[in-house]
Amino acid sequence: MQQPLGKKLFLSFDLDVLDPKYYEVGIYTQGILSPEHISQLTQKLIRGHEIVGLNIAGYTPQAKEVVKQILAPLL
């Protein structure tokens, strides 16, 4: 099922993948990930690829520090 990724990647993060103990998005059901887990997955995903764009959905100013953690491998 898995195909090789293209050289260029566009990454979109909806913050509802986070466990609500790290950040509460609001009305949506949320995932189970920590910012560190997302950061680790991202680090693996981007290895050998060019990042051509980023998107963060579900952002509020309260998520600022969490977003910085998630983006750490990209900065």
Binding site: M1, Q2, Q3, L5, G6, K7, K8, L9, F10, L11, S12, F13, D14, D16, V17, Y28, T29, Q30, G31, I32, L33, I38, L41, K44, L45, R47, I51, V52, G53, L54, N55, I56, A57, Y59, T60, P61, K64, V67, K68, L75
Partner: protein
Amino acid sequence: MEEHNSSKESLRISGYFGICQNTEASDLFRELGMNYQILDSSGKSEQEFAQQIGEYCRYLSKKPFIIGFPHYLMAYSVPQDATVIVFDNHSDDGIDYKPQQNFTSGTFLLFTPGEQIIVLGATRKQYGHKAIVLPPRKWRMFCNNL
């Protein structure tokens, strides 16, 4: 529209340019040392606004870093030759939310160019050949195989 210039320049983030819908993301962009642009959606449908974001992205000489828009508004912002990877707890986000429109958050994948779209953490909706949808239990396996 007015471009906002950050007072400090971060070398680590210098390849990106911020785009947001309101001032909520301004602090983050400033702390990252990024210039940014606030786009106004007033008077536009969601699809028209998505197209506006896309047109703006194509004019940028830097990579777009888009914050504060629903992620499906990225449909027109992604380069044709890019693979899209979406971290989202709901692959079918709002698919019936606005049934009178043909452009919903659930259908953004169909508008998005590119050979392959991977939704990590998706739970229900599949999108045919456009997307590979991975439930959370398969994330780690997917990443380990890269």
